[in-house]
């Protein structure tokens, strides 16, 4: 049975001043699946990712045209509050961005933003999020310790836990493993694979191997355009477009 579409992007164009970062891109993303965005640097995949939670708006001179529908509702409609969108669409960045507070405070940051004060609720949410990211057993005895004391891989999983604690419907990943060693990377991949059963995941990655082994579908971007998208197996085994073939073979990128 085909999953319904969680995110529908229709002729999305993004401009930074005069530079066109994304040129009329349309892509449908099924619910509770992993979609990998691949392509050479500067191809627009990160811009695409940041259009899904309206993070592009934080950049000056950024203009967005077209539609991004979340559960059928255009998130760029004037009456939609970007803050509400970001509460539903979580994001993890390339480099870990732990706040200079304790592990516990990092995880519950999003809940506190929403005004949650109950100690029990916060502690339960913290444990749940840390268990989902396989961090619980490693940090349960030092939840009050500074988050900066964790290793790079742990910090990145903490950032995922922080995003998960508010139960997002969509999780955007902007190369979350590119700064990590293979062991830390494989732990994060396990965590993400588990998450795909409850959350729609859109994943920007530079690693073809990662895209191949992790994703359900792949979208290949080049020069601000979506070249092709489809089931991961199909794209990797029989790409329709020559650019895709060249990129997968490592001719450029």
């Amino acid at each position: 049975m085909e999953k319904p579409f969680k995110i529908q992007v229709e002729s999305l164009s993004v401009r930074y001043g005069a530079r066109i970062a994304l040129d009329s891109v349309s892509l449908d993303i099924p619910e509770r699946s992993i979609t990998a965005l691949i392509g050479p640097s500067g191809c627009g995949k990160s811009t695409f990712l940041r259009s899904i939670n309206r993070m592009n708006e934080l950049i000056e001179n950024c203009r967005v045209e077209g539609q991004v529908r979340l559960d059928g509702i255009d998130i760029y409609h004037p009456q939609v509050d970007p803050i509400e969108i970001r509460k539903r669409v979580g994001m993890v960045f390339q480099r870990s961005t732990c706040f200079a507070t304790s592990i516990f405070e990092n995880v519950v940051f999003g809940l506190r933003l929403r005004g949650e004060r109950s100690r029990d609720v916060l502690e339960a949410a913290c444990e749940e999020a840390l268990r989902k990211t396989a961090l619980w057993d490693e940090v349960k005895d030092r939840l009050r310790a500074p988050a900066q004391g964790l290793s790079g891989g742990q910090q990145q999983r903490l950032c995922i836990a922080r995003a998960l604690a508010v139960r997002p419907e969509v999780l955007l990943l902007d190369e979350p493993t590119s700064a990590l060693d293979p062991i830390a990377t494989s732990r994060i991949e396990e965590v993400i694979r588990e998450l795909a059963s409850e959350c729609t995941i859109v994943w920007v990655t530079h690693s073809m191997q990662q895209a191949k082994r992790m994703s359900d579908q792949v979208a290949f971007f080049h020069m601000g355009k979506l070249v092709e998208a489809g089931k991961t197996q199909e794209i990797f085994e029989s790409p329709k477009h020559e650019l895709t073939l060249n990129y997968l073979r490592g001719v450029f990128g």
Binding site: N53, G90, M91, F109, L113, A147, Q148, C159
Partner: protein
């Protein structure tokens, strides 16, 4: 002997003329600092005593202690901090977070702040006299009493601390702005991505991350202001005030001003001399303590940060 001289010469050639000049000027600076402290200590320390520090001021500067001046300095510095810190930090936040860098207003404000930092401190004193004492004070008197009595329109600790606050403001503003700019964009983005509003990002991420930097700047600015005389000369300080200040309009004594009083107003030059050094020693100790705390904070701040750390 010859070998030693040879090696010394070789070392000098190796570091080159710039290196030699640099080493000499460093030595000179250290010697000057050491000289100042040594003279203060040698001349002033023997005159230090419980009676000197906790003794009340006397009409003849060379008799009596410095307690009034000590309390005056402390109160002045506290009041000044209470005025300068909130305003300076708020302005710094405005510049770092809200002002459009390209706008004319921002540019004009920036030039104004930079010029403010370059004005000689005695001019601040005149400004304080003209603005706070004569303008604000007179207006208050006209408003509060009928017929007007002179209550606010005379030098007092409120006016001197406000004048000193104006002098400190540029430093607090600039250091706040810099500390805020040092908080990484990525951390802010992470907070936005969790659904934080702009104000929440500022209060929950940016300010906690910049806290240490702001504190450092504030302590350094306060340390410098604590030793200034010129701004308080016409606005609140006096040679001798028998009572400790109890009201914002009371005049007060000040350590640095007391040094000046000892040097110029004393009948007994010989006994005043020791006290000048002793008072200076106390003043320098206080300002150096403040500066030392500031420098320590700054050094702690600048420790190499691993990525993802807010401060």
């Amino acid at each position: 002997m010859k070998g030693l001289r040879h090696r010394l010469l070789a070392a000098l050639v190796q570091i080159g003329p710039t290196g030699i000049l640099g080493a000499l000027s460093t030595l000179l600076l250290i010697a000057m600092l050491g000289g100042i402290i040594a003279i203060l200590f040698l001349q002033g320390f023997p005159a230090l005593s419980i009676n000197f520090i906790f003794g009340r001021s006397s009409l003849e500067p060379s008799e009596g202690g410095i307690f009034n001046a000590l309390v005056g300095t402390a109160l002045l510095t506290l009041l000044m901090t209470a005025a300068a810190l909130p305003l300076g930090v708020a302005t710094g936040i405005y510049f770092a977070e809200y002002a459009k860098p390209q706008s004319k207003l921002t540019k004009i404000l920036r030039v104004a702040i930079e010029s403010l930092a370059g004005i000689p401190s005695v001019v601040y004193g005149l400004f304080g006299l003209g603005f706070f004492v004569l303008f604000v004070g007179k207006s208050l008197d006209a408003l509060l009493s009928e017929p007007p009595l002179v209550v606010w329109a005379k030098p007092g600790i409120l006016w001197s601390s406000l004048t000193l606050a104006v002098l400190t403001l540029p430093v607090v503003i600039v250091s706040t702005e810099e500390a805020i700019r040092r908080v990484s964009q990525e951390l802010r983005q992470a907070a936005y991505a969790l659904g934080a509003t702009r104000l929440q990002v500022l209060l929950w991420v940016v300010l906690p991350g910049a806290r240490a930097g702001i504190g450092t700047g504030a302590v350094l600015a306060i340390g410098r202001a604590a030793g200034e005389v010129a701004p308080i000369l016409f606005t609140g300080a006096a040679n001798h005030v028998a009572e400790l200040p109890r009201h914002p309009t009371d005049m007060h004594m000040h350590l640095a001003y007391h040094v000046y009083a000892l040097a110029t107003q004393s009948a007994d030059v010989e006994s005043a001399k020791k006290l000048i050094f002793a008072t200076s020693l106390v003043l320098v100790t206080i300002t150096m303590l403040l500066t030392g705390i500031g420098s320590l904070l700054r050094a702690k701040n600048k420790q190499p940060e691993n990525h993802g750390k807010a401060i």
